[in-house]
Structures are given as C-alpha cells and as structure tokens.
Symmetry: C2
Subunit: 336 residues, 2 copies
C-alpha cells in the first residue's frame, strides 16, 4: 500500500465531486491500485484546512455545506502558500483562477505533481509549465480541461504515436449546443439563452460560452497536445451571438444544422458556427461533446462522451491523480 | 537519439505495413521521439533474415515481393529461436500463430518488450503472459488485436482509472457488418458472403468471422483488460449463420437493423446478433468498429474508428512499439 498526500485547491462543485469520489471509492482504490489517498489540505476561495494526519473528507464536505466556506474552520493561507508549505505529492487545482499557473509552477518546483481542470494555465502558459514539470520530473495532467471526463487528452498523449494528426474537429462546448438546438426548434437566441440559464446549463454570465471563448480555450489545449504550443492570439474565434433564425431556417432546408465547431490543424485553430449535415458525427444534441480525429495512417477516429457535469469532470481529475502517481510506482509497464 | 533494435515476426500484409511505415517515417520518429528503429531480423513463415547492423527494409520488401518469401535470402530459424538469439529490444509479432504465446514468454524471459496484433495469446494465455512481462519489467502491448488501430485498449489502460466499468458493447468484426448490411438490402446470406469474399472483405474460410469467434476473441481481450482474465470457455458465442431474410425483414419493420454485438460485463462476455435501433451508435456500416463504454462516473463514452485495414492495423503496432520503448526513456512523465 502506498499512501499519497493530496492538496485540493478549489472546493466548489468539482472539488466536492472529487472529495466525494475519494471517499466513496477509498477501498476500491486500495484494492485495485494499492493506493491510499490522504487529503492533507483543502482550500476554497476564503481559507485552507490543513492537517498532515489527513482531513476527514466527510467532515469537510459537511462544513462546506453548512457554512458555504471553510473559513470558519482554520488557516488563512493562499493557494501559493499551500503548494509551497503543504507537503503533498499531488496538487489538485479545480479552480478557474487565471493566475493558477503560478501555483502550478511552484508545485513543480517542489517536486509535486499537478492535476487540474483549470484551462487558462494550459492556454496561456503551456510551454513554461511543461518545461518546469519535465525538469522537476513531475507529472502534469489536465484531462478534465477538455470534454470533461471524456479522455481525449490521454488518447492524444498515449495512442496514435506513429500517426500524424491531420485535423481535429470537435464540438467542445455544450451550452452552445443547447442554445442552437433550441433555436432549431424555433426559439429566438434570447429565449434559448434564457432557457439555458433557467436550467443551469448556461452561467449567469454566459459570455465565455456564447462568445466561443470556452471552446477556443479547449481547442488551444488540444492543439498544444497534438502539435506544439500555439499563441491564443492566433486563434480565430466567432461565437454564436450573431446566428439568426434565418440562418437556422436555411440550414434546415439543406438538411443541416448549425453547431459551434472547433477545428484544429497544425499551427491553425479556429472556432466558429458552421452548418453541418445531420448525419455528421458533429451533429450532437444534449451535453455530449465529440471530437473527430483524422490521421495519416488510421483515418478517422470518433470519440464522443459527456462534455460537462460535476461527476463526469471529477472522473477525469481522479483518473489523472491515479495516473500521475501510478507512474512513480510502476515496475512493469503493464498495469491491470 | 536512442537506437531501438526490432525483430519482426510475420511479413504478410501487416508486417509489410509496419516495415513501410518505419521506412517512410524514420526521420519523423527521430525528430519527434529521438528514436531510431533498426530492424535486425524479419521472419516470415519460411525463413528469417538476421542482420545486427540493420536490415535494409526497402530490400526486404522487394525480396518478399519478388519471391513471395524470404527463404531465398537467408537463415532457417524458427520464431522461438529468433526471440532467444536475436538481441532485439522489441519483438513485434504480427502473425496469427496460435502458439505464438511461447515466443512472447521467451521474449519476456530475455527482457524484450513484445508488441503484437495476434489475438490467441491474449485470449488463452493472458495471465501467464502478463505475469511474466511484469516480472521481467518488459512491456506487453497489443492495441492492434481489437478494433485495428482504434485505440480502445490504450484508452482502457490509461484513462478512466477512477471509474468502474459497468458494460462495454461493441461491433468488433466488420466482415459480419458487411454481410448483414448486404442482407438488409435484400441479398441472401450466401450471396452476401460471396460478395464479401469477392471484395476481399471475408477470408476464403470465413468461419472465424461468421461464427462470431473473431469477435469473441476480441471481446475476451477487452474483458481481460477492463476487468480480469476470463476463460474463453465461459463466453457465449452465436454467429450470424442462422440470420434469415425474415429476421431482417422483421427488424426493418421496427426501424431496427441486425448487427453482431459483443457485450462485456465483469465476468460475463457474449457475442450474438441483435436487433438494434437505427440511431444506436452500434448501427454501423462499412469497415468501422465501435465500442460504447459505460462507467459509473462518466456515463457513456463512444469510440468509433477503423476496425480493419493493413495501414490501420500497422498504425497500432507502430504506436505500441514507440510506447513500449518510450517508457524506458521517460524522465518527466509528460511527453509531447
């Protein structure tokens, strides 16, 4: 049995999802991987709980539930202080903090692995982060940043190693899929957006989704993994705000539908609404995401799965955590 | 630059596909991975060429083309002798030999990695092979055994590590898909089979495909990777030989179609023809394969891609070869 010390930064939906899975599956992970996870710090936006002997996750979940924050409980410590001072093996960052790349860098400098669902560090600081992780022999895993738990990142990193990727096309944002499919049924953009907000599918500030920025972040991360780091400024982004009922009608006449399509080629990333055939693998409904990967040897590969959801995103974070530490333990490289 | 010595056993379609890719992409693999592959032995069913200084792959491909065998060229050596005596880092077995598991065992005993597209060793000797590989710290990779180059094995090994798999459903054999879709158009089983043979989609002895055995082999391998080794005798297999035009008609009336469906649950593997809705991800046409993976955390994940083809299968063999040796080289675990 190997005991792994974790620092959890972010205790919103995904962070609590991760804590819940670690609780529920503690026995499972001991039996299957010989891994015992001990969460030794949890930080929310206001405070940090820190206990080297292991935090009672059940208690932490209850405190958060009751007080909406951890600050009634203990330390005033910033995430940067946490990654410096808390002696964890893996730092799990499930915040949306734009400056989190600094915590990741600092974690690597202390030889800690980092697992994250937080996109901006991977979009804006990819090169420095990868280099630092490499130099410190730390693992950097970020499956949850794209398509929630659907393992597109791992697939690109671990398979098709002899293939050259020619193109990736994807539907990477499900809020826009929801709005567009409502518009297909005759609703105006405004009404569709309101419905999405009512159902909790769109955020109160829907701009990241509607503008295409969220999909563009994800597309850049896919490009960085499939090819090399690209600058975000080079990405062509067009959102769905200008799609009219007329556009929808015209697409319908041609037996097509409009979706926000990310397209990634070597050195080229774009996100824009496109009319696509109804039998295209890109013609999705609901909260699924899809990517169609085209390579020189294999041809077309389709991977489709959940693109949102707390448990679905936490799935990727937990898988990455196991993967990050499993590599330290491996003797043979084949693992059950 | 790291030089990697390879033994290639099997020089039929897939073997030559692998040789061709290694030739075409030699520069690419040097630049991308710092790997230089030197093939030091090639065995076909009659003979072995062996040259420690590296075989000229262009020449070997020409000799095979001209003489249909390598035995005009050099050694009389069995594959078992090859894995013992030829000092390779990786043994690539692309034969269909039922006894190849003995070569794999012997290769592991000599500390060599094994990459294979050959199913029976993984179906009938999984436990011994995995244990031997583990003890010798050798890698055993077999992506090409299921769904050609579509990376379902790697996906199961490298992602969803915190998830419990509830069920995998798949269409894993494309010959039966071809025959069934011809029957859908009104052809009899016999005529559909004849067409498949004419087009080179079915073998002259189509029994492995038609009986469901090929799909059953693949389903067992998926079970072994997703759960634990299962005995082949426990698999429920029913082929498509008894599907009548009447069955087809009845399915059609319900807006369904019949496909040979593999279903894998923990401890349970079956392969049988089933009527499925036309909008099911399992309702495939052509030579694609698909798997629908259902887990407790993520929900449903669909992976679809080529299930046959020389280049498509060779893609997996080459990717596995890179992956097998890349793990020896890794410093940080993040790899571009």
């Amino acid at each position: 049995m190997t005991e792994i010390f974790l620092s959890l930064i972010g205790f919103g939906n995904v962070g609590r999802g991760v804590a819940t899975i670690l609780l529920e599956k503690a026995e499972r992970f001991k039996n299957k991987y010989g891994l015992k996870f001990r969460v030794i710090s949890i930080s929310d936006s206001k405070a940090t709980i820190w206990d080297e002997s292991g935090i009672d996750l059940r208690e932490a979940l209850m405190v958060k539930e009751a007080f909406e924050s951890l600050d009634k409980w203990v330390h005033q410590m910033s995430p940067l202080e946490v990654v410096k001072e808390v002696e964890s093996d893996v730092v799990i960052d499930v915040t949306n903090d734009m400056n989190a790349w600094k915590w990741h860098m600092e974690a690597f400098r202390h030889g800690r692995h980092v697992v994250t669902s937080n996109k901006p560090p991977l979009v804006f600081h990819f090169t420095e982060l990868i280099q630092e992780a490499y130099m410190r022999r730390a693992n950097y895993r970020f499956e949850a940043t794209v398509m929630a738990g659907t393992p597109i990142i791992t697939l690109l990193q671990e398979s098709l190693l002899g293939d050259d990727i020619l193109r990736i096309q994807g539907v990477l944002n499900s809020t826009t899929t929801f709005i567009l499919s409502q518009m297909e049924k005759g609703l105006s953009f405004e009404d569709a957006l309101r419905n999405a907000q009512k159902l909790g599918i769109a955020e109160r500030d829907p701009n990241m989704d509607v503008s295409g920025m969220d999909a563009a972040y994800k597309a850049v991360i896919l490009h960085n993994v499939a090819f090399y780091p690209v600058s975000f400024e080079e990405v062509r982004v067009k959102g769905i705000g200008e799609i009219s009922m007329k556009d929808m009608e015209e697409a319908k006449k041609k037996n097509k539908t409009i979706r926000l399509i990310a397209e990634i080629r070597k050195g080229e990333v774009s996100v824009e609404p496109k009319a696509i055939g109804r039998d295209s693998p890109l013609a999705l409904y609901g909260t699924q995401n899809v990517a169609v990967i085209e390579t020189d040897l294999l041809g077309k590969l389709v991977i489709r799965g959940p693109g949102a959801g707390i448990r679905e995103t936490a799935s990727a974070v937990v898988s990455d955590t196991i993967k990050a530490v499993r590599e330290d333990l491996e003797v043979g490289a084949w693992n059950m």
